[in-house]
């Protein structure tokens, strides 16, 4: 079946062993699909060779959007659409606009960042999570290796590399896509 994926799962119970295992497995030329762990493991991103997240850039863009939206809104409302004298100031006093601008900047940056995160990680309420091993929600780390991505390496080698690097179990799992 072309729309099912075959995984080899290395189960680890210690994050330091996991970190060195990631290094060894990648060193052996095996591509790791994902590592699941119940808590953030420091340094795992670097070991997996992940690029730095571009989420801050999205946050900055949404922040700028909020700034310009807030300023445009206030200038248009109080300067063009319905000019009003408030507190004897000009129609468009910039200092008065700063608090609203600040709040909208923060609001849009925060909402935009959360939204971007959900979209980019494909998180949604109706998502059907593919739980490769239930114990990743408790006390085990699981390194998932997709056989489809590792055609050049045979499954036997992957098994032995995982065992050698300290996995307490090595399981096979087929997942419907």
């Amino acid at each position: 079946m072309s729309d099912s994926r075959n995984f080899v799962l290395g189960v680890f119970d210690d994050e330091d062993v996991l970190l060195s295992a990631v290094r060894k497995v990648r060193g052996a030329g095996v591509k790791i699909d994902e590592v699941y762990s119940p808590f953030p493991v420091h340094g795992l991103d670097e070991e997996l060779g992940y690029k730095r997240s571009r989420l801050p850039i999205a946050a900055f863009m949404f922040g700028i959007l909020g700034t310009s939206l807030a300023l445009t809104m206030q200038f248009w409302m109080l300067g063009v659409d319905w000019p009003m004298i408030i507190g004897g100031k000009d129609f468009t006093p910039l200092p008065d606009f700063i608090p609203v601008t600040f709040e909208l900047t923060v609001l849009l940056a925060a909402f935009g960042m959360v939204g971007t995160f959900f979209v980019s990680t494909d998180l949604k309420p109706w998502k059907d999570p593919k739980m490769l091993d239930l114990r990743i929600t408790d006390d085990k780390h699981v390194m998932a290796i997709d056989l489809g991505q590792n055609k050049s390496v045979d499954a036997q080698t992957i098994n032995s590399v995982l065992k050698d690097s300290g996995a307490i179990e090595v399981n096979d799992k087929e997942v419907e896509d």
Partner: protein, 473 residues
């Protein structure tokens, strides 16, 4: 292998001497030619003052006629009976005018560098009170900054005694009695200042010796210095003997210092800066000055740490530690802006004359309006944009540029707090200001680096060295 102890080489000393000499030459040049364009404008001052007097009449509180008269004094450079000077007169008074400007500049630099000194101790104690581990390698730099305090105290007291009348309008003795000795109305009587007299003169009569004011200064310096000495001796004893008992003791004294600092930093901001504009007050002022001091101190700590690292010291300090310092600077630059703007917005929006006169003096003046915006650009927009990315906070080049800009930028912040209320429209920015800042900077660096060279650059037995080593962000 990195050098364990900072060596204050003669080469570096010579460079510092050279900077001090250049500063001194600039100061002399400033004395002979006081400020670019200053003399050319001297003739106009009369007119400007007249205009200002008119403004403050309009803005005057309904307290009394005398109030606007006193305000006029503030604008015109405090024409006092004691000195009998008249600044509007022009050329002939430039000698005295420059001396006054020197006194005001001495005060700006005193306040600025006292801030650096106490922020050094504040940073150090903050790390202990919050049980922070990441900073264990670089704590000797802020600790050394505290050594400036005794020098700062002497300079401050001497400046206050010599230039007190030039800087603080409230020190004039003729403001406090409603009637003269012969029973006539005192034309200099100022009801608002007289109402505040106990804050300066308690338990003495208003207009005599400002005992309460001086006492506060003495007590603050004494307690700061005592706690600094205590913490420093504990830190050095820890180097020799080890064990974590010293860490717990330092934590206790750190907590005491922080509580005392919370009160004393605010009160000293009122005393040393806010009382210059003695009719005016702002409830944000203590925070505002603290924020300014704190960012300046962080920039200084970071700059010295980066420079030491580049000179081959502090090899354990990695870009992760510098990143944290960078985040501190970034965050507190924004915090400073937040406090600054909160003070500005409320005063601007409410537009109560006795409050908004503070910003009228700064924002509606040709002299200070440019500095007003330079202040915002250097201390908010520049650090905000340069330090926003992660990489900028980890690279020595960016750290150095931003730290130097902030050190200069916050000097301008203090310049804007002090000068308009003392020199008024006679104030200027020229060789005098730059020269004196250089001399003070060299003196401060000299004291700090000497203190730094007296002990190991990194605490030997700090219990959190291991944590700091693995600090990773």
């Amino acid at each position: 292998m990195a050098k364990e102890r900072f060596e204050f080489t003669t080469g570096l000393k010579k460079k510092l001497y050279l900077v001090a000499i250049i500063g001194f030459v600039l100061l002399l040049v400033g004395a002979i030619f006081p400020g670019g364009g200053h003399e050319a404008e001297a003739g106009d001052h009369e007119g400007t003052e007249q205009h200002d007097a008119g403004t403050s009449d309009d803005h005057g509180t309904n307290a009394s006629d005398n109030h606007s008269g006193a305000d006029n004094d503030g604008h015109g450079g405090m024409i006092s009976d004691e000195s009998g000077e008249d600044h509007g007169a022009g050329e002939a008074d430039h000698g005295g005018g420059w001396l006054k400007r020197l006194g005001v500049n001495l005060w700006i630099n005193n306040v600025y560098f006292v801030g650096l000194g106490i922020i050094g101790i504040f940073f150090f104690t903050l790390q202990y009170a919050s049980q922070a581990g990441w900073s264990a390698f670089l704590l000797r730099v802020p600790l050394a900054m505290g050594s400036w305090l005794p020098y700062a105290f002497v300079l401050m007291i001497v400046t206050f005694i010599i230039f007190g009348h030039d800087i603080f309008h409230w020190t004039h003795s003729d403001l406090y009695n409603q009637f003269l000795a012969n029973g006539e109305l005192n034309p200099h009587y100022d009801a608002l200042i007289a109402g505040k007299s106990s804050y300066f003169f308690l338990p003495l009569e208003g207009g005599s010796f400002p005992l309460f004011f001086v006492l506060r200064m003495v007590v603050f310096f004494a307690v700061w210095f005592f706690l600094f000495k205590k913490i420093k001796s504990l830190a050095l004893a820890e180097d020799e003997l080890g064990g974590d008992s010293y860490w717990f003791k330092m934590r206790k004294f750190s907590a005491i210092f922080l509580v005392f600092f919370a009160v004393s930093s605010s009160v000293s901001a009122w005393d040393w800066i806010m009382s210059i504009d003695v009719h005016w007050f702002s409830t944000m002022f203590g925070w505002y000055v603290f924020a300014s001091w704190w960012v300046t101190g962080l920039a200084f700590i970071t700059l010295v740490t980066v420079l030491l690292k580049e000179a081959g010291y502090l090899s354990q300090v990695t870009s992760n530690h510098l990143h944290d310092l960078g985040k501190f600077i970034f965050a507190f630059s924004i915090f400073w802006t937040y406090v600054w703007f909160s003070q500005f917005l409320l005063i601007y929006y409410a537009n109560i004359p006795e409050e908004s006169v503070y910003f009228v003096e700064r924002l509606l003046s040709d002299k200070y309006a440019p500095f007003f915006f330079i202040n915002l650009i250097l201390n908010f927009i520049f650090p905000l944009l340069t330090f926003m990315t992660r990489d900028a906070k980890r690279l020595n080049v960016f750290l150095k540029i931003v730290c130097i800009v902030i050190l200069g930028g916050h000097w301008i912040d203090f310049y804007l707090m002090v000068t308009p209320g003392t020199l008024g429209e006679n104030g200027a920015f020229g060789f005098t200001e730059i020269g004196l800042f250089m001399i003070f900077g060299v003196a401060f660096l000299f004291v700090t680096l000497t203190a730094l060279s007296k002990s190991a650059l990194v605490a030997k037995n700090h219990p959190m060295l291991e944590e700091a080593k693995h600090h990773h962000i």
